[in-house]
């Protein structure tokens, strides 16, 4: 059966071998550990750096006897050395010509690279994202970034590509490589035909990162993109966040308009917008309006927003008693 060994150190297929039995299968690990990646030369350090991939039907075929691989089972002793079984082979003594020939052959005829490039691309396309995701979940962000990057290098479906780029950005962000993360998020947004729900996530990740890096215009554009993608919930959240950016930049009126827009929606964004409008009116001195919005936010079930709004309501001076013309309570 076909055995493919991938290395987590370089996210390449470093070994492809046909094996016919358990002994040979186990020997693959030893071989792989001693193998430099044919594409980048990086050698795995331990078994933890290796992942072995098999075709399910070929494994099943061996169990059921339907496999087209070696049927004889046992290797006849007479030909065991032909198959590399048994004593170690001698090393060929080489004179000047044989040494030069070997060198020049290695330099000009190493055609393994295209094969392994093809294997690596295939596996990066089919399982690269999965390996990246698993590494991300365990907190190994360097490995995650490597696999996401490989996957992004070969995926063709725009949505899949955008997902890989977005996750790459997230992993890079965890590694503190913010500029690279920005590039990854931007690459995700370049996948114009990708699903909007994916693109909006990339835009929402990109915007605060640019803001943090001091690129206010870039952040503003990213939030606008998120809003224009018109994804229910996410676009309103982007409006809330853009409002915060505008408020911080001194554009209170613009901020208010954005929060008003988000307030007209339903869901979590409405609660955030309500809180921010409460703050806006509090700062503007209209405590009644502030109280009104804080109450909406406090009644929501949105984590962080509701308690914070409740806190504001507690510290605001009590509302003056309501007066009704010509009537006393």
């Amino acid at each position: 059966m076909n055995v493919f060994v991938l290395s987590h150190r370089c996210a390449h297929c470093i070994l492809h071998q046909a094996v016919y039995g358990e002994d040979e299968y186990l020997a693959v690990f030893e071989t792989a550990l001693a193998t430099r990646c044919p594409l980048c030369g990086v050698r795995p350090r331990s078994n933890d750096d290796l992942v072995v991939l098999l075709f399910e039907d070929e494994v099943e075929g061996i169990h059921t006897g339907a496999s087209p691989w070696r049927k004889t089972g046992q290797v006849p002793k007479a030909v065991s050395r032909f198959l590399g079984v048994g004593d170690a082979a001698r090393t060929t003594g080489r004179g000047d010509f044989a040494t030069s020939l070997r060198d020049r052959y290695s330099q000009t005829s190493n055609r393994r690279t295209p094969d392994y490039q093809e294997f690596s691309d295939h596996w990066a396309k089919t399982v690269g994202f999965q390996f990246g995701d698993e590494a991300y979940e365990t907190g190994d962000f360097a490995r995650a970034a490597l696999w996401f990057e490989r996957a992004a290098g070969v995926l063709e479906d725009p949505t899949h590509l955008a997902v890989a780029q977005t996750h790459l950005g997230l992993a890079l962000q965890e590694l503190g490589e913010n500029h690279k993360a920005v590039s990854a998020f931007r690459a995700a947004l370049d996948c114009k035909r990708a699903d909007r729900t994916v693109l909006v996530v990339a835009a929402q990740q990109l915007a605060p990162m640019l803001k943090e890096l001091g690129d206010i215009d870039g952040a503003r554009d990213a939030y606008r993109i998120a809003m224009e993608l018109n994804v229910s919930g996410s676009s309103e959240t982007a409006a809330v966040d853009l409002g915060v950016l505008e408020y911080d930049e001194g554009n209170q009126a613009t901020a208010k308009a954005l929060w008003d827009q988000a307030y007209r929606s339903s869901g979590d964004a409405k609660a955030g917008a309500a809180h921010n409008l409460g703050w806006y009116w509090e700062q503007a001195g209209d405590l009644e309006q502030a109280r009104r919005y804080y109450k909406v936010a406090a009644k929501s079930s949105v984590e962080k927003v509701a308690p914070r709004a409740a806190d504001r309501l507690r510290v605001l001076p009590p509302a003056p008693p309501r007066r009704f013309f010509g009537r006393k309570r």
Binding site: A18, D57, S67, R70, V79, G84, T91, F97, Y105, R112
Partner: protein
Amino acid sequence: MSSARAALIREYWSLLEADGVDHLIRPAITADEHARLVGRIRNQAERTAAVHGAQNLLAEYTGGKRGEAPSEPRDAYAETAGRIEAALQALGFDLPGTVYVGEYPHQSFNAQARSMHNGTLLLINTGLHYLIYEVALALSTSAGVAERTHDSRIRVRKTSRDARRHQAAAATTLANELAAYILHTDSRRGGKQQVDTTARGFLGYLLAESAATFAVAHEYGHFLAGHLERRRPNEREWLLKSREQEFEADEIGMLLTLKAHELDPDIAALSFWKQVTVGGAFLFFGLDHLLNRIRAEVDDLPAALIVSDHPPSDARAAALRRTLSELEGPDIFQLADAYVLTRAGHEDEVLASVPRLLREQ
């Protein structure tokens, strides 16, 4: 052709005539015989394709041409030698002298060399070229055809009863051919494989071509590594090599064969051309292994029938395996390993055939 090589070829033919063996190399064939041969090949090819339920690719391969009877003595290794020398040149080496590859009935499975006035003769045992093709054809008959289904599963095409009969006949004929080669240096006295010009058959021919090229390239290896310069006996003696030098010549021969195939666009277009090329070298070693077993295990075998002057073939295969693993990776042996095992399955049958043919002599 250079004048030095032309002179060397004249020396070669003089040598054959002087030794009274030129008739073995120069089989006369008339236009009528050639036409009959071509007709027979076409009929066999059609029958074999029908048995296997596969497409006959002969017309596609030849472009419908029938060819003409050769008017000159056949030069079986001219093309092979040319490709090896082109590979050498592509790797940036010059041929350090004049060489000619020809046939000679020296009874050694491995090629031999002679130093002549005008250069060096690399001489392949008569009949070996033909035998290698027959063996490869028989082995390819045993190959099963597997297909990937639309859902990426592997499905092995069922072998028909006729195809199984064909495989059994091929195995028996192969045993007889090998025995005949050992006893008479002429495998044709043991029978003949059916021509197969389906894709499976062409794989066999390619494997045979690889084995034959390796055999010649191995001898070039001796020449290039200077093994033939250190001792120059007179023209009537074979140039001797040490066992250590055989391993070196194997490595040189293998690399030159791989390079020669890399330069051939028809071969290099196949995704598994390297596996076939290496498979050819291991087929060659496998045949050598079988001949050694016969020498060791068959009683009453005339001692002169097989000359053995090389290291054991399994040691040569193991050493070459190490070199190729280092240069190309272990997956290059996929076809070689399959053919080694298939051929090994025929060994007992061949070993049983030899005493029978000996008795029938």
